[in-house]
Symmetry: C4
Subunit: 277 residues, 4 copies
């Protein structure tokens, strides 16, 4: 989610464009961002409505027209972004650079492959810029906290998912043997799909066990799924507690001797240089 | 949930009404509140029963009659409340003032738009007064704790919901492309509805993926939903721990001998230096 | 779950019976308990199997016979328990006394009201005695911890359930108005049932919203249910942390001055009498 | 998950085989493990694809051929493992020894009982060796942490599951009485299956309550299931916090000056008295 920020380029008109498009502190930059967000929402809404048959029949042409207007606007904006920064490749490779490109590509793809235009909902990702406009520094801080907690639990969650996938594959295959094709478990991949539907407690009911043995195995999968949801929850809670604690503990007092600012609240001496705090 | 409490007005009869309606400490005020709560429950029950066809055919007229009796009683009560307080507008704009009005409006609306009377179940909100009657100060304290924890997690939960909505919109649109209208995914809004049904692990099964690719994407949504429920749970747990700690920390005494301020509530002597507190 | 323990009565044969039936430390008492548990499990299994039509047709008579043998045995046991304790009424009113009675009543009721015999599965509650037999003192300790945590969260969970019920009633009634009887929402109670099915993320799919507005409200209920599950989880986690902490902290060091044994781990002086620890 | 590690046997060729098969540090050992994992994945994929009718019709013979090639390879590997270790019985009885045997048995069983070959997905368990190859010591550490937390909660979770099973049996039997065979609750075991489907919030919808009383009991089961999921989550979170704390506490240094032993891992000086550590 790191936003791309280049130093201002030299040419005056490029400098002006850069200020409007990339900065959110100046009045013109702020207005640009607000209009941009409204355009993004409108364009996503247009695509959504276009997919509803009743609306397409009545307003289909207008929606396609609107869709292309937005696409051309976003294309111009993308080119201006590329032109106004000093290192265009660096912007193009950044998170928002890729999102900006993905936001206009589907429309052009739909010229060759009809249907592709619905992928423009990826434009929604551009709205993440909203946090910059609203200057919600706190929100950025909070989401950094959440990300930090998730990052710290990365390895534990990988092990958890790996274990779950193994369980689900073995139990899914077992159910294929028990229930068989006549009860909707037509193949092992489908049985694994059913096992995941059951373990995650989604339970569509499109495939359900019919035999007594199958229902017994299902019950085990359900209880397993009901119980092991405690594991990721526990992991995230513990890591979140850690992340919050370290945030609250940091920057409280800096040492005059060595400048280290991650002193504990109850420390009397700096733990790096021994200087009295 | 802050209850409106005005100073008693000057006129004696307004003072008497105020005492009965607004106060819960006097015997008459207590009885008024208990009768009020019984009326609310009976009136909500009457509306519920009226919606059951078998009962409506037999007792329909009696229920409509009862319904209007309650509405008129509540209207009189609302007028008395307005009359007896010093600042009627202040009451009318308070939480309970609005709830009291919403509790009688649907009946009058149903005169013009039949069916509206079922909205009177909003009267149920009036029952929140029950906490006042039962003098369950602890309950108010506890619910304040819960609200405090939820308020502290407000920003984090906003980010979480925003992220979930973005994921659901993009994956829902993808499923519309993959499954198409012939498999029940008739429009992007409907696909998003399906994606939310799946992510929240509700899983009605009214729309289910039929293609292999669609089932694969569903599995990802399910695992995502199964995993990220850890995030709000983690947030609320951490904030609740904080809220409870701060409640326990409040009003705590510092030792005159050593200054340690983490004395237990029941301590008589400082546990670090033995000084009497 | 407190087990009833009387002092041994005076008469020798009553003393002997008491020893066998109530105590679990003596060899005869232990054997009695083990046989009792096997009888309970067999009798519950018999009732379960009796309800399966295919089995009832073949072995119905044998199962009814077995069922009555167990009932008579349990009746004799219940009478012996009453006879052998000093205060029979005290036993009859205790948790296990009531369970023991409920475990034999359904069979006798089924003489007058056929079908009642399936209620004997309540005998399963008697199995809670298993913890006593296996001398799993730790299990009793652990379950006391769990109960303590649940008790401490009692008030908070009451508020939570009260709030959920209010939300569900109002949103359920709203759905009755939106969807109407033609879409399966035939009455307000049924709509509330549907709202609970949705909020708890069970999602049977027997009733599903058909209108766009109805699907929109459903989505709100789902997200609500997906989010607020964090509240009871947070409450129980916090209270459990407290309960465990207090257990670990207790009995660590007792004060020589006043004997108070809930001294903190880091205390140097007793916080009740100021005596050095 | 303890991997079997024997001392190298004496004979040179057995020593060489042991090095290749059992060790992951030598280049040849590493390559062996990587090829092994690829073979496992390919063989599991072959079985899965074989279960899809459309693929079986076209490539059935090739898949059976591939399946047997893998089985023979794994059989040779199993024999080599037995031969190259000093104590073959000790290996055969270890976790991986049993898994290795279970991974080849189904194919041979399928010669006598067709269908058994699908059980070879149990080979997936062999992939757990992947952690050894990738030298992900941290992963092993993390998973040990998770296991430790789960082990510590063992007793509490046993009580929880025992309680849930008792509730589900009693409420399931009650529903059998209320709904009866005409509404899909054809026997007590099936009613218990339904109660578990409901309590775990899976909610297939293959059996749903039709009577008002039945829907009322269902609502209680749902709210129960929605609420008590907090219990395992709370248990695991608390134990995980403990497990993580104890890991962080291990190997910590005490100050020679004041004896305080809660020094941070990165501290150079004691934070209480300034003494060099």
């Amino acid at each position: 989610m790191k936003d791309y920020k280049s130093e201002s380029p030299q040419t005056p008109w490029r400098h002006k464009i850069h200020e409007v498009i990339f900065e959110a502190d100046t009045p013109s930059g702020k207005w640009f961002d607000i209009i941009l967000i409204i355009c993004i929402i409108l364009s996503v809404l247009a695509v959504m409505l276009d997919s509803v048959q009743a609306i397409r029949l009545d307003y289909g042409e207008a929606l396609i027209y609107a869709e292309w207007v937005f696409t051309i606007l976003f294309t111009i904006e993308y080119i201006l972004r590329l032109v106004s920064v000093i290192r265009p490749l660096s912007y193009a490779g950044s998170f928002f650079g890729i999102v900006d490109l993905l936001a206009i590509l589907p429309s052009y793809i739909s010229l060759f492959y009809p249907g592709g235009q619905y992928l423009v909902v990826i434009r929604l990702l551009r709205i993440l810029r909203i946090f910059r406009v609203l200057k919600l520094v706190q929100y950025v801080g909070e989401s950094r906290l959440l990300l930090q907690a998730l990052k710290a639990s990365r390895r534990k969650i990988t092990i958890f998912i790996f274990t779950v996938m193994t369980i689900v594959t073995i139990l899914g295959s077992l159910m294929y043997l028990i229930e068989g094709e006549e009860n909707g478990f037509t193949s092992i991949p489908k049985s694994i799909y059913w096992a995941i539907v059951t373990l995650t407690t989604v339970g569509y009911g499109d495939i359900t066990p019919q035999t007594i043995l199958g229902q017994f195995v299902s019950v085990i999968i359900m209880l397993l799924g009901y119980g092991i949801i405690a594991v990721p929850t526990g992991i995230v809670t513990v890591e979140m507690t850690q992340a919050f604690k370290s945030v609250r503990a940091k920057g409280i007092r800096a040492c005059r001797g060595c400048g280290a600012d991650n002193q504990d609240e109850d420390a009397v001496y700096c733990k790096y240089c021994g200087e009295k705090l």
